[in-house]
């Protein structure tokens, strides 16, 4: 079982049954270093474990980079 999501602007196939927390773990991203936007809503960090990732979700993972 797999599902398609839109992750940082690209279509991506991931396994079913993910939460935001397990998706970040699979991507080897430290939750404390990034901000997650799910379908245009910013998620609280302590909610990652409770928020399921669903077919068709649009997820943006952002962080701070160098800028002026």
């Amino acid at each position: 079982m797999s599902m398609r999501i839109r992750l940082n602007g690209k279509e991506r196939e991931i396994g079913a049954g993910h939460t935001v927390r397990t998706l970040l773990r699979e991507l080897e991203l430290e939750p404390g270093m990034i901000v997650v936007e799910l379908n245009r809503d910013i998620l609280e960090r302590d909610s990652y474990e409770d928020v399921p990732v669903r077919e068709g979700d649009t997820i943006e993972l952002v962080h701070f980079v160098g800028g002026g």
Partner: protein, 273 residues
């Protein structure tokens, strides 16, 4: 770095002749605010920022590049307990986008400050002041401490202050141009009329530009490219630290009147026959 250590002591003494800059209740250790973009390496960036003496640094919000290493994350290089991270909305062309980026930045959990910039034109990168004002009103209502990048227009600066911005940041000249202060009169007028701190943001190219900027009486200066694009960013950062302090102290000291005739500095009396 030992060649600079003596200079640093002199600078500490010079900084003691001024009072600290406070923006939105936050006290800064320097009147120089620096960006973190466009450096050849992260190590040069960190060394240059340390040399500049700046403790507030700007950062941008971008997608995590899932195909590359995590090297690009600024938090791997700058300790947020050492530097105050001022997130920007650079790259945004609408109020809606700028608000979205500001909210994402705040969710990172460091502070409620944002360097608001809404660009109106791709070739000059001049700000869209209408969109900036609209975004500023929304963000201040949401509790953000907005430091607004704007042009050197007094009326816009006054409106941004009315909108609740904690600092107004007119440009010296276009972003990344290095042209210095093209309109010192308007910069002085903005400073004269506003109560909130005025930070000149963008356009400084070299140390004399920073010095002239501070001599207009503004509260601080924000720069990125002038350091990052110098042949030796660390050396330029030392120069900028000096220049900002020099310009500030010259402003506080009050310059002599300029005149177009010479006046001798030595007594006329007591000359030999």
């Amino acid at each position: 770095m030992s060649e600079f250590s003596e200079v640093s002591e002199v600078l500490d003494a010079a900084e003691a002749l001024d009072r600290p800059l406070v923006i939105g209740g936050h006290e800064l250790g320097s009147r120089l605010i620096v960006g973190t973009g466009k450096y050849a390496t992260n190590q040069i960036m960190v060394d240059a920022i340390r040399a500049s003496g700046a403790d507030m640094v700007t950062v941008a919000v971008r997608r995590v590049d899932l195909d590359r290493t995590k090297e690009e994350a600024i938090l791997h290089h700058l300790d947020p307990s050492e530097f105050f991270l001022l997130a920007n909305t650079a790259g945004c062309y609408t109020a809606e986008d700028a608000i979205r980026y500001a909210r994402l930045a705040r969710a990172a959990g460091f502070n409620e400050f944002v360097k608001l910039e809404v660009i109106g034109d791709e070739s000059t990168l001049l700000p869209d002041v209408h969109a900036t004002l609209a975004a500023a009103r929304t963000l201040t209502a949401e509790g953000f401490k907005v430091m607004a990048y704007t042009n050197d227009d007094l009326i816009t600066a006054l409106r941004l202050e009315d909108a609740g911005c904690v600092a107004v940041m007119p440009l010296a000249s276009p972003i990344g141009s290095g042209l210095g202060v093209v309109n010192p009169y308007f910069i002085r007028e903005i400073k004269r009329r506003l109560q909130v701190p005025v930070i000149v943001d963008a356009g400084v190219g070299t140390a004399s530009d920073a010095c002239v900027t501070m001599e207009q009486g503004v509260d601080g200066v924000l720069m990125n490219t002038a350091l990052a694009a110098a042949d030796d960013p660390v050396r330029m950062a030392h120069a900028m630290r000096h220049a900002v302090i020099a310009g500030r102290l010259a402003f506080l000291a009050g310059r002599m009147p300029a005149r177009e005739i010479a006046v001798p500095s030595s007594p006329k009396a007591g000359m030999l026959d």
